[in-house]
């Protein structure tokens, strides 16, 4: 598939891997919390922390479609993009659409909030707690656990919205967005622009981001 020049790379494998791991981990995290498997919840949560840190670093030094600054710049064309969508006129964006950029930031913000509060959370009995809960009082830990629980609803709602949007693109606009998130590639002919930004996956930033996020996880682990 790599050799087919008609299909170009939209999502590098790091973006895809992080995305699909989150698809697996978020329901698992919810389930382990519901069932009280808190050792698993902590391990999965810590892995999620690593994934989100990686994604944030990758948003600074990753491929063009993964980076935040180009995403923010694209918000300028939101009005014309949405206007076209209203007429069921769909011109694919290379990477996230101006509308999807809001989804990306909302989801990342919800994930960061979820992880940050989870790190300090304490259960009602004082028996279970996040790895950084030693730094806060019982009352603060309880309040953060309440935020952790409430924010999960926001996260689930955003995920629902995300999936609904994918379904709308699929059924109404006849655009398959799941395929490219699996293979990473999309037909060059889908994009109107004559030149597209350089979107090559570079080796050293990838290693750097992986090492940095792993280091963050290890630092957290040292707290217990």
């Amino acid at each position: 598939m790599n050799s087919d020049p008609a299909r170009i790379l939209v999502w590098d494998w790091a973006v895809r891997l992080v995305h699909w791991l989150m698809v697996v981990f978020v329901p698992l995290l919810w389930w382990t919390a519901e069932e009280g498997y808190m050792d698993w919840h902590r391990s999965l949560g810590l892995t999620m922390f690593g994934l989100v840190v990686f994604r944030l670093i990758w948003g600074l030094i990753g491929t063009w479609t993964a980076r935040f600054v180009p995403m923010v710049r694209r918000i300028g064309s939101l009005k014309s993009y949405v206007g076209k969508l209203r007429n069921r006129e769909y011109s694919p964006s290379f990477g996230h659409s101006p509308l999807a950029v809001f989804g990306v930031f909302a989801l990342l913000l919800a994930l960061v909030t979820q992880i940050a509060t989870g790190l300090f959370s304490v259960d009602v009995d004082g028996l279970e707690s996040g790895p950084l809960a030693v730094l806060v009082s019982f009352d603060t830990g309880r309040q953060l656990a309440e935020v952790h629980e409430f924010n999960f609803n926001l996260l689930a709602a955003l995920i629902g919205l995300h999936i609904a949007a994918i379904a709308v693109y699929h059924f109404v606009l006849k655009a398959n967005l799941v395929g490219p998130m699996i293979t990473g590639r999309r037909s060059r002919a889908d994009f109107a622009a004559t030149t597209l930004p350089e979107n090559r996956t570079r080796f050293f930033p990838m290693i750097g981001a992986a090492v940095l996020s792993l280091a963050c996880v290890i630092i957290l682990l040292s707290f217990g």
Partner: protein
């Protein structure tokens, strides 16, 4: 196709379950006449419920300090001892904290389930098991051996959980 449908289902179901779970918490705090009814021990229903909640919260606080220390590389045994001493004291008389009429039917906000007053003997047995474990935990703490404290702490936590799983509203 199939993959997409399954993906859609999981978070949506998760979201719905949680939202519906949120729905049932708001109704308990209605002003009720039974809240001020005086119990045989002289306390009102409301005061009794609030007192036991405060005492259980103190136990939770003590547990957090113990857990914090056990997580540390070099636990401060003095801090553990101070916390373990609190637990048997706060837990004393626990079986008497649940006189008839102090369940959710009182209208006062409480996570205590009505089954407490249906299976009182089993409930009291579980309370006694917790008190015994708490006393052993305190004894282990005064002994100063961190490994023994950790084991006793786990046992004590288990007695809390076995009672809460059955007799407390799942939050």
């Amino acid at each position: 196709m199939k993959r997409r449908k399954i993906q859609m289902l999981v978070p949506v179901l998760a979201g719905l379950t949680l939202l519906s779970a949120c729905g049932d918490t708001g109704e308990t705090d209605t002003a009720s006449e039974t809240a001020n009814v005086e119990l045989a021990n002289g306390m009102t229903v409301k005061a009794q419920i609030e007192a036991r909640q405060a005492q259980l919260k103190n136990i939770g606080k003590a547990f957090k300090s113990i857990s914090d220390q056990l997580k540390a590389d070099s636990p401060d045994v003095a801090k553990i001892q101070a916390a373990t001493a609190v637990v048997p004291k706060e837990a004393a008389g626990m079986a008497d904290w649940f006189p008839a009429g102090t369940g959710p039917e009182s209208g006062v906000e409480t996570d205590a389930l009505p089954i407490i007053w249906e299976e009182t003997a089993d409930f009291n047995e579980k309370v006694a098991a917790m008190q015994e474990a708490a006393a052993e935990l305190d004894a282990a703490a005064q002994g100063g051996d961190v490994a023994a404290i950790a084991t006793a702490f786990k046992t004590t936590g288990g007695t809390c959980k076995s009672c809460h799983d059955k007799y407390r509203l799942d939050d």
